[in-house]
């Protein structure tokens, strides 16, 4: 269920690493816990963040989830389609529902992330 080419954070985000550019989204588990997403608030392109900074938020009918970046770097692209179609985060969280692309400045931070198997284990324990 969780793509093996992705890395995963404890905050239920997935990260696809392509060179020094990392695409970040929330996992299927995270969207299912949140329920239907009605707003996605994303950072400005060009903004820089440190790892564990809040970079935006996702609002569902009943709850809000802050998005924390596990990686330091600069936002190089955001998924602006989500402004008009936030439900894509529910419908296709692992592909079309991506949130931001970050140009990472410290690849050693990838070592703190989990692979798909470890993430699956964490989710199984939580549910």
């Amino acid at each position: 269920m969780y793509p093996s080419e992705y890395l995963y954070s404890k905050e239920h985000e997935w990260i696809l690493v392509e060179g020094d550019t990392c695409t970040l989204g929330i996992t299927s588990y995270a969207q299912s816990e949140l329920g239907e997403v009605v707003f996605v608030e994303l950072p400005e392109v060009g903004a820089s963040f440190n790892s564990e900074d809040e970079i935006g938020s996702i609002e569902s009918v009943k709850a809000v989830a802050e998005i924390y970046t596990p990686l330091s770097g600069e936002i190089v692209e955001v998924n602006s389609d989500l402004e008009d179609a936030p439900e894509v985060v529910n419908d296709d969280p692992h592909i079309e529902g991506w949130l931001v692309k970050i140009k990472m400045t410290d690849p050693s931070q990838l070592e703190d992330l989990m692979d798909a198997e470890a993430y699956q284990e964490m989710v199984d324990e939580a549910s």
Binding site: G35, V38, F39, E59, V61
Partner: protein, 371 residues
């Protein structure tokens, strides 16, 4: 079910429909000491089903307290602010338990079952508090029993709800008026059929014995499937009640707010004897209140939630009590307390939502009214 007074310390309780919820694919959450379904699939679909067709809710966590005996009427008149003498057997009344300060211990329904026999229906989270409070108020010639374990409660709500239920009962539902009820039968099982609800739609609340509940749940769901009936969870229940402008204990009303502040002055009557909170409420009727509950719509992107502050010139002047996405209006709505001088429909508000300031506008409640 176990004793409801043990709610706080123990594992969450389960209603008689717990297995039915799992069967229907519910996501279960803990609510008021109970393990309840928050949604089965999409809470927005469940919401629309209730507005356009019908929805079936398990609200068995609600509490039922029987008050009976020759002194029951006098006792309930002393206990609650509405006029219980206006009730007759077969009628229900929305009212409250208030402190001496006129603030809410809980809101509730009083059903008159027969002469000198009443059923008080209270919020799940407050059963133990309410029951203790009720016992603490003098009740000569009057027996007060917590019968919460004796009832399961299903709410069948929505424009198709009568049509669906009609197939299973001989009770004349068409002529059962709002806030009236009948002791009837559904598929041969005894049931209190009450024309009440918490959604802003027509509908019924069905009080039945716990052992009959799973059968009734499955029967109604199967019967209404072609009508668009969906099982609906607490998520939809909350968005529906908020659109309909109905208060929820712990949000719009609590032990710091009075009926006059909450816009529920219609539940407060003075053409009756003394009751808990009366003198404070009389004073508020005379002099008005300093703050008032208002409804608002958010004008930007985002949702204000309970506890977010209302700002005027960087100063907090009030707080959001409920906030959600409204599936019917397709915008974010909410309720808040603001100073009475500010409570003018159409006026702008600024709400601090986490690090942002969202523009909002005061609007009339209810947000939604059925045609």
């Amino acid at each position: 079910m176990s004793d409801s007074t043990a709610v706080e310390e123990t594992a969450p309780q389960r209603t008689p429909l717990y297995e039915c919820h799992l069967e229907a694919g519910a996501k279960m959450v803990e609510f008021a000491g109970w393990e309840m379904p928050v949604r089965y699939g999409s809470e927005i679909d469940e919401h629309h089903a209730v507005r356009r067709a019908a929805g079936l809710f398990d609200v068995s966590h609600m509490g039922e307290i029987r008050v009976h005996g020759g002194g029951a009427l006098d006792y309930l008149q002393r206990l609650t602010p509405n006029n219980v003498a206006k009730l007759q057997p077969g009628r229900a009344q929305y009212s409250a338990l208030l402190t001496e300060r006129g603030t809410y211990i809980d809101d509730l329904l009083v059903y008159q079952m027969a002469k000198d026999d009443y059923l008080v229906v209270v919020n799940a989270s407050n059963i133990a508090t309410d029951y203790a409070h009720m016992l603490s108020v003098p009740h000569p010639d009057c027996q007060i029993d917590n019968h919460s374990d004796r009832y399961a409660l299903l709410a069948l709500q929505g424009p198709k709800s009568l049509e669906i239920l009609k197939r299973h009962t001989s009770t004349d539902l068409e002529n059962l008026r709002y806030y009236h009820f009948e002791n009837g039968q559904i598929d041969g099982k005894s049931c209190i059929i009450s024309r009440t609800g918490y959604t802003g739609e027509i509908g019924m609340e069905l009080y039945i014995s716990p052992e009959d509940a799973p059968h009734l749940w499955r029967t109604l769901l199967a019967s209404g499937a072609d009508d668009g009936l969906l099982p609906a969870g607490l998520g939809a229940r909350d968005t529906l009640r908020l659109e309909a402008g109905m208060s929820l204990y712990g949000h719009e009303i609590d032990d710091t707010t009075t009926p006059f502040e909450a816009g529920l002055q219609w539940t407060v009557k003075f053409a009756k004897g003394d009751y808990l909170g009366r003198s404070v409420l009389e004073e508020q009727k005379e002099n008005g209140v300093d703050r008032q509950l208002i409804g608002f719509e958010i004008e930007g992107r985002g949702i204000a939630r309970q506890g977010h502050r209302i700002l005027v010139d960087d100063e907090s002047v009030g707080q959001v009590t409920s906030g959600t996405w409204s599936p019917t209006l397709e915008k974010a709505i909410g309720t808040a307390y603001v100073p009475t001088a500010m409570a003018t429909e159409g006026d702008p508000l600024t709400i601090e939502v986490r690090k942002r300031r969202l523009p909002a506008r005061i609007v009339a409640m209810p947000f939604y009214k059925r045609d």
